[in-house]
C-alpha cells in the first residue's frame, strides 16, 4: 500500500473516500429513481420534504435507523445478520479496482521537517494487474449474499427468490464473460488502465496489412464491439437484478423475494449492494466501450493537465506539476462521472419503461439467445482481426 507513512495514509484515505462515495451515492440514486419514475409516469414524486424533496433522503435514513429490530422466529439469526454485510462486499471490492481517472503525480516536497519523495497515486482504491479477471471473480461472489438471505430467513418466498436470483445471476454471467472476451481480444490486456489508454487515440485499425486512421473519431470499443456492448449491457441488467430482469423480487408472485423478511438498515444494505452493482456495471460499460475517463480529441491524460494549468495559475496556486496533475485528474474524473450518469439514467429509464419477463423467457433469453450471440461475437471478432491484418496484396 505504500513505502512510507504518507503514501500509506493517502492510499487508505483514498480507499475509504471511494467506498463512502459509493455508499453516499445510493440515497441520491434512490431519489433520482423516485423523481425520475414520477417524471416518466407524469406524477410529482417526493417533493414535500425540503427543496425538490431532497431532504427525503435524511428522513429515510432516520426511518431506517429507528425501524424495529426483527429476526424471523424460524430463521437462522447468524446467517440472517451476515447476509446484508456479505451483499455489500462484492460491489465495493469490484468498484475499487476500476480506475476513476488518470494517476496523480506528486512531486517531492518538504513537510514536518522531513523530505517526502515523489509519489504516483492511482485514482482508484487499488490497481490489480489482472483487473478484469479480478472484477469478474469478486462479483461472482454476489450470489452468496442473496443465497444466505434466502436461507437465513427460512421463508418459502425468500428461498425461492434467492434461488431464482442466483440461477439468473450465474446464467447471465456466461454471456457477460463471453462479451468481455471480445474486449480482451480487441485490446489484448486484462488491465483497465491499458484499455482506457488505448482508447485515448484516433480510431485506428488494420486493413489488409495497412494501418488506417480516422482522426475525427476516438478509438472507442463501441466502434469495434457494438454487439458485445449490447450483450454486456443486457447481461448487466440481469446481474443487478433490476427490471426487466427483477424476477427474484417479483412482487406479484414472491412478495419481495430474498429480502421479504428484511427491514431497516439490513434492507438498506441490500440496496447499497444493488446500487453498487449498478455503479460497477456503468463504470465497466464506460471503461470498455466508451473511452473510460478520456474524451479523445479534447480530454486525454496528455491534454487535461495543460488545460488546467491556467486555472491553477489563476487561483494563485503555485503551478507546480502536483497541482496541475491533480486538477487534470479531477477534470478527467468529471468526464467519467458524466458518462456514468448517462448509463445510470438508462438503467433507471429502462426500469420504468419495460415490463418484466416471465422466468422461462428470462432463462431462454440468457441461454438460448444471448449465449450463442456472444459466441458469434467472439468468433467474428477473432476472424475479423486475423483477416484484416493479413496483407492480401503481397
Amino acid at each position: 500500500m505504500g513505502i512510507d507513512s504518507f503514501e500509506f495514509t493517502v492510499n487508505l484515505l483514498k480507499m475509504i473516500v471511494i467506498f463512502m462515495m459509493m455508499v453516499q451515492i445510493v440515497p441520491l440514486l434512490v431519489w433520482v429513481e423516485r423523481r425520475g419514475s414520477a417524471f416518466i409516469q407524469n406524477r410529482l414524486g417526493p417533493n414535500r420534504v425540503g427543496p425538490l424533496g431532497l431532504m427525503q433522503l435524511l428522513a429515510d435514513a432516520v426511518k431506517f435507523l429507528t425501524k424495529q429490530e426483527f429476526v424471523p422466529g424460524r430463521g437462522y439469526p447468524a446467517l440472517f445478520y451476515i447476509a446484508p454485510v456479505v451483499a455489500m462486499i462484492p460491489a465495493a471490492l469490484a468498484f475499487g479496482a476500476i480506475p476513476l481517472s488518470m494517476p496523480v503525480n506528486v512531486d517531492a516536497f518538504d513537510w514536518l521537517g522531513q523530505h517526502w519523495g515523489p509519489y504516483v497515486f492511482k485514482f482508484q482504491s487499488y490497481e490489480i494487474g489482472i483487473g478484469i479477471v479480478f472484477v469478474l471473480g469478486v462479483s461472482s461472489l454476489a450470489a452468496f449474499g442473496v443465497l444466505l438471505a434466502g436461507y437465513g430467513s427460512n421463508n418459502k418466498y425468500a428461498l425461492f427468490g434467492a434461488l431464482r436470483a442466483s440461477a439468473q445471476t450465474i446464467s447471465y454471467e456466461l454471456a457477460m464473460g463471453l462479451a468481455i472476451v471480445g474486449v480482451i481480444l480487441l485490446f489484448g490486456s486484462f488491465n483497465f488502465a491499458d484499455i482506457v489508454n488505448a482508447q485515448a487515440a484516433p480510431l485506428n485499425f488494420m486493413l489488409a496489412g495497412h494501418k488506417v486512421e480516422l482522426g475525427f473519431l476516438p478509438n472507442w470499443g463501441i466502434f469495434f464491439q457494438p454487439l458485445g456492448a449490447v450483450i454486456l449491457f443486457a447481461a448487466m441488467f440481469a446481474e443487478t437484478n433490476r427490471l426487466p430482469f427483477d424476477l427474484p423480487e417479483a412482487e406479484g408472485e414472491l412478495v419481495a423475494g430474498y429480502h421479504t423478511e428484511y427491514a431497516g438498515f439490513k434492507f438498506n444494505m441490500f440496496f447499497i449492494g444493488e446500487y453498487g452493482h449498478m455503479l460497477v456495471a456503468s463504470a465497466l460499460m464506460v471503461t470498455f466501450y466508451f473511452g473510460g475517463y478520456t474524451l479523445y480529441p479534447f480530454l486525454t491524460p496528455e491534454t487535461a493537465p495543460k488545460i488546467m494549468a491556467p486555472i491553477a495559475a489563476m487561483f494563485g496556486w503555485s503551478t507546480t506539476s502536483t497541482a496541475v496533475s491533480l486538477l487534470g485528474a479531477l477534470l478527467l474524473h468529471v468526464v467519467l462521472l458524466v458518462k456514468m450518469v448517462i448509463f445510470l439514467w438508462i438503467f433507471i429509464h429502462v426500469r420504468w419503461t419495460l415490463p418484466r419477463f416471465r422466468y422461462d423467457q428470462l432463462m431462454d433469453l440468457g441461454w438460448r439467445k444471448m449465449l450463442p450471440w456472444a459466441l458469434f461475437n467472439t468468433i467474428a471478432t477473432a476472424v475479423l482481426i486475423l483477416v484484416m491484418r493479413h496483407n492480401w496484396g503481397a
Binding site: M15, L163, F265, K266
Partner: protein, 123 residues
C-alpha cells in the same frame, strides 16, 4: 502481497462498516415485542405453512452445473484472447485461430446439444 493488502483492508473496512451500522441500528431501534404472530414466516397473512420440505425444481441444479462447465470453457478463452495479438505478431495467427476453432466447435456442439435436448427449457 503488496497488491493484495489494500483489497483485504477494504474488505475488512466494509465488514466493520456494516457491523457497526447493524449495531447502531439495534441500539437506536425499538425492540421487537414478544409477538408470536410477528415471529412467523411472512406468507401474505395466510396461516404459516413452512412445515413440510420445500420442493425445489431440479432445473435450478441442472442450470448451476451446466453453468460451471460452460464457465470453465469461457475461462479457457481468456488467456487465448490475451495472447491472440502476440500469436498474430509471431505469424501464427491461423494456428491459434484453428486451435481455438476446434475448442469452440466442441463448445458450440455442446451448447446446441443442450438446447436441443431441452435441458435448458423452463416449463
Amino acid at each position: 502481497m503488496s497488491q493484495l493488502l489494500p483489497v483485504i483492508v477494504l474488505a475488512i473496512f466494509v465488514i466493520i462498516f456494516g457491523v457497526t451500522l447493524l449495531f447502531l441500528a439495534s441500539l437506536i431501534s425499538e425492540k421487537a415485542p414478544d409477538n408470536e404472530v410477528q415471529d412467523e414466516s411472512y406468507e401474505c397473512g395466510l396461516p404459516s405453512d413452512t412445515s413440510g420440505p420445500t420442493k425445489i425444481p431440479i432445473k435450478f441444479y441442472l442450470t448451476a452445473i451446466l453453468f460451471i462447465l460452460f464457465d470453465i470453457e469461457i475461462i479457457f478463452m481468456y488467456p487465448w484472447a490475451l495472447t491472440y495479438n502476440d500469436f498474430l505478431n509471431g505469424g501464427a495467427g491461423v494456428y491459434i485461430l484453428a486451435s481455438m476453432g476446434v475448442f469452440l466447435a466442441v463448445f458450440v456442439f455442446g451448447l446446441f446439444w443442450e438446447i436441443k435436448s431441452k435441458a435448458l427449457e423452463w416449463e
